[in-house]
Symmetry: C2
Subunit: 310 residues, 2 copies
């Protein structure tokens, strides 16, 4: 029986009816008018209802991918930064509203599960997915199952420590990988170069406007030969490449799927990650490894959430 | 039905008959007279026969833990350094000789599985086991299953890279964690201090004899306030503690089981690992974590190998 997948972001709720092979039969997208839990539940229900009507089939179960830390068994969102939520029992609320069993996972796990079943991971049993967007995250599939950990927070690659007492991270701790290599922090570090007057290339590329800086600005400044930009970039590339290589060594996946806006739009950084894995992952782990790109784009989370409910 | 567990080391083969609860009903230990594959198979068969006779029960299946890289599906030992073997089809040979289905895993996975089912991991579904002995290794249990990876080499924590182009490791690569923190390399680094005349405390503790140096010598030299010893030790402690903390962040286990000769005999180093996990693992990952010692000692591998065959 098809299932319902929900992708809950900070501004929209998307819903899709997905068959067991991961094919989307219909989808709908509704803007979040309100951000309080009851309002969000109504918006989700509206998107779900549209998608189900449009597909014209019965659905058996609902999966939700949310940008949040989720308590594994209860479906409580312990922290959802985009929505400003803490300890919201979204699973129970949605179950009552939709009349369906509901499983909630974080958005990255949902996306990874979609890629695993219906995208770049098809046919493998052991897959590591690394996304570098505004943050850095990973999801682990081992023995054909999602590794979500005892508390449901496995895969937090962005919050491994790379420098003891290092740069402050958005999570409140110091020296996290994400504090050096996440898109948000690449921008912050590039703005620091601009504000310190340290990088002629960044000044030129941004026209002196911090708001125009993206991670691509940094990569372009490096390509223009800028020394200060290179220092920030090399550090980020080294930390990210070593971290990914080390996870390949420890997990020995058949596939490494790389995705997320930063790796998509900064091909130089993506190349450094691939070269790092080839140089630093243990020989046996890298021998059987296929490094590939995510295939499903924005639909991976919707599809994965639906499949996790199946 | 009870199963047979084999622990294949470099000098002995041990065999045990183990019930489904992980209780050893009988065991036997036979020295390896010959190290060629046919000779080792005979020695294993002899130990197995003694254990089975002594237990007086039928066994259904045999599991082997071997200090080797094992090709997951075929049971071929691709590299077994202690025995000087390459590409030995031990699984098939043993199956033919014992008339039992045989499953071969590396010794650390076997030990971890023993601890998981019958030792310090009982009752948990997500367990990380880290052993620091002459080498550094780990084993991962997620969703109640051993994570062995696509090629059967998952858990190689000793071969994650901590320094690009760093110290040469026994595996042939450079900058591995094990090259700084494995017992063999702690000894090598301490001998370098002795030979360079750099550490009065090491010279005193060892009586100037490199053969008397153990990892404990290094820890004692640090406790005596020796600066050169401290430098080597701090680097090892930092790398090891960060690596373990980062695996806790990524895997979010319910239990972290610490074992192996170095962590047992160097309580200061063990304390540094525990403190590192408490300081550096992500908050959610460390909140639900229990850090504990291995319980089954030398029998963990025997018991785990038998249980893996069940």
């Amino acid at each position: 029986m098809p299932t319902l997948g929900i992708d809950l972001g900070g501004t929209f709720a998307r819903a899709a009816v997905v068959d067991a092979a991961g094919k989307m039969l219909a989808s709908a997208k509704v803007a979040l008018a309100e951000r309080n839990p009851a309002g969000v539940v109504e918006t989700i229900a509206q998107a779900a209802s549209e998608a189900v009507k449009s597909a014209g089939v019965l659905v058996g179960g609902c999966g939700v991918g949310a940008a949040a830390q989720i308590h594994k068994d209860s479906g409580v969102l312990s922290v959802a930064p985009n929505l400003g939520w803490r300890n919201v029992p979204l699973g129970e609320m949605l179950k009552a509203r939709l009349g369906q069993p509901v499983r909630i996972v974080n958005d990255l796990s949902a996306a990874a599960w979609g890629e695993f079943h219906a995208g770049a991971g098809r046919g493998a049993q052991d897959v590591l997915v690394v996304f570098v967007g505004s943050g850095v995250g990973s999801a682990i599939i081992a023995n054909g199952r999602l590794v979500d950990g005892a508390g449901g927070v496995a895969g937090e690659l962005g919050h491994i420590k790379v420098v003891p007492n290092g740069r402050r991270c958005g999570c409140g701790e110091q020296g996290c990988l994400e504090a050096y290599t996440g898109g948000h922090n690449l921008i912050a570090q590039t703005r620091e170069l601009l504000e310190g007057g340290k990088s002629p290339a960044v000044t030129k590329l941004s026209g002196g406007d911090p708001a125009r800086i993206t991670p691509v600005t940094l990569e372009q400044a490096v390509e223009a030969g800028d020394a200060a930009a290179r220092e920030v970039y090399e550090r980020a590339a080294l930390f990210l490449a070593m971290a990914v290589a080390n996870q390949v060594t420890v997990l020995n996946p058949a596939r490494l799927i790389l995705g997320g806006g930063v790796l998509t739009h900064c091909p130089g950084l993506r190349r450094r990650v691939v070269e790092g894995v080839q140089a630093w992952a243990s020989q046996t782990a890298r021998e059987g490894l296929l490094i590939t790109e995510a295939e499903l784009g924005d639909d991976s989370g919707l599809i994965g959430a639906a499949l996790l409910a199946g």
